[in-house]
């Protein structure tokens, strides 16, 4: 789940990290009132769930409350990357001595949170990491063992920060790490984290993303931020026709689970894949061996024939799909024969020869003997668990490349 900046700042504030005396509003006249309260130059920032605000004119500086109101009016009417703003954030223009970056992100490979700190804030951390790697400190921490501020200090020191700044930044990064754990975040970022003229640290911008599955557990926080259930996860993705169709097939039948994604895919090999991480492994295996997937999918939980058939039909009907590869890791709670029936039925209903259309069927496991009898009847190339996922993917790619 994604958060607007004004919500992320509230999360940061609740965690005990200093923030500026900002105000959020959806009304230009109120922006003026907030600017009057602040009593000095302000920054008016569009509240949109997309990047590129500054370049699009969604961030403007105002010297007077009148100017703040005028900027707020302009920004509230400004669409950025297809997004209209939720409102504007009116922020005091801080006297910054130095900008830093502080962040915590979920590292899916290490399966642990990763703290990041840099003394080069205000720009993308990816750019800093690439161009000035010695200015980025990193450190994983446990989600089980108690967190120690010392771990944060080590990360900050690794970025070359010393002395007073090191002492003052440490509690900020430590609280950000704790906030990350407490609120089921996948990303918690303060950029820039400003060191003011008086040596204090304050968060000038924040970006938070919460694990979707953590949302029920974080109900109190979500409610406190005024986020209604109707807003969902706010994911910035409009489902394609393929994705909508697969979702509808899945919803119509309680047996098993299917998912399909094709955003960013435009290849010629349709994938009907799944089982315990098998989908990711198989998609990678196809790509790394030169194959071009037409989609990503997940099938499992013992789907019905109709559900397996529905997914396979959707994949087969995608533009450019020449053949499908039906592959899973070893299955125990999904029946091989049922999936075999489903994908063959899809071919037949679309008037295609299953033996020609299914490049490979590699699903070993429950009821495989029965499944193999079905596959034999229709002349489909299949393999058992003695053939690795990698090899099966390679065979599918070779067959499609050979046919092209």
């Amino acid at each position: 789940m994604r958060f607007f900046e004004y919500e992320a700042r509230e999360v940061v504030k609740r965690a005990g990290i200093p923030v500026t005396d900002y105000g959020f509003t959806t009304d230009a006249a109120e922006a003026r009132t907030i600017a009057e309260r602040i009593g000095g130059p302000t920054v008016i920032k569009s509240q949109v769930l997309t990047g590129g605000r500054m370049k699009a004119g969604g961030v403007k500086f105002a010297d007077t409350p009148e100017e703040a109101e005028a900027h707020a009016r302009d920004i509230l009417a400004l669409e950025i990357n297809g997004h209209m703003p939720r409102g504007v954030l009116v922020d005091p223009k801080a006297e910054v001595e130095q900008e830093y970056y502080a962040g915590v992100v979920w590292d899916g490979t290490a399966k642990r949170p990763l703290m990041l700190f840099s003394d080069m804030g205000g720009i993308d951390i990816e750019q800093v990491a690439e161009e000035h790697p010695d200015h980025v400190g990193r450190g994983h921490f446990s989600t089980i063992e108690p967190f120690s501020d010392f771990q944060a200090k080590q990360v900050i020191a690794a970025a070359g920060v010393t002395g007073r700044a090191l002492q003052r930044a440490t509690p900020v990064l430590a609280r950000l790490a704790q906030l990350f754990l407490d609120n089921d975040m996948t990303l918690a970022e303060i950029n820039p984290l400003a060191e003011l003229k008086d040596g204090s640290f304050v968060a000038l911008d924040a970006h938070m993303e919460m694990e979707n599955e953590g949302m029920p557990r974080q109900k109190n926080l979500i409610e406190a931020l005024g986020i209604g259930a109707e807003e969902g996860t706010r994911e910035d993705h409009t489902p394609t026709a393929f994705e909508e169709a697969v979702k509808a097939i899945d919803a119509a039948d309680h047996r098993g689970v299917i998912q399909g994604k094709d955003t960013g895919f435009n290849g010629n090999i349709g994938l009907v894949i799944g089982a315990g991480g098998g989908s990711l492994t198989l998609t990678d295996a196809v790509r790394q061996q030169g194959g071009k997937p037409a989609n990503y999918s997940e099938i499992g939980g013992n789907p019905s024939v109709a559900k397996a058939c529905g997914l396979a039909k959707q994949v087969l009907q995608k533009d450019g799909v020449e053949k499908i590869a039906v592959m899973m890791s070893i299955v125990s709670n999904t029946r091989v024969d049922i999936v075999a029936r489903g994908v063959i039925k899809a071919c037949l209903e679309l008037g295609r020869d299953p033996g020609e259309t299914i490049a490979i069927f590699r699903i070993p496991g429950a009821w495989e003997e029965e499944g193999f009898k079905i596959l034999d009847k229709y002349g489909i190339e299949y393999c058992d668990r003695s053939v690795s996922l990698w090899e099966a993917a390679g065979r599918a790619v070779a067959k499609i490349e050979g046919a092209s």
Binding site: V305, R341, I344, K345, K373, I374, K377
Partner: protein, 85 residues
């Protein structure tokens, strides 16, 4: 009566199919709704569900328990018309 899907065919003795009590038991037993009862209570085979058959034998057991052992046959069309025993 007999109906064929792509993978599975179901055959039921006509006399048994007319038995409303057995029709009820078969309808209850099948986890994938291959059997249903028509308005007069007799047995119907739901063609669209034939290929969903999970070979669980519950219908065979229900028939046997009602004294109609062998009256219901599940035929695997992909396996040389082998009958589920």
């Amino acid at each position: 009566m007999r109906k064929d899907g792509i993978f599975i065919a179901v055959e039921v003795d006509d006399q048994v199919a007319a038995d409303t009590e057995l029709a009820r038991k078969l309808t209850e037993a099948c986890p994938v709704d291959i059997f249903a009862q028509s308005a007069d209570g007799s047995l119907e085979i739901v063609e669209k569900n034939l290929d969903e058959c999970v070979l669980c034998r519950l219908c065979l057991d229900a028939a046997a328990a009602a004294g109609a052992d062998g009256a219901v046959k599940i035929v695997k069309l992909y396996d040389g018309d082998a009958v589920l025993a």
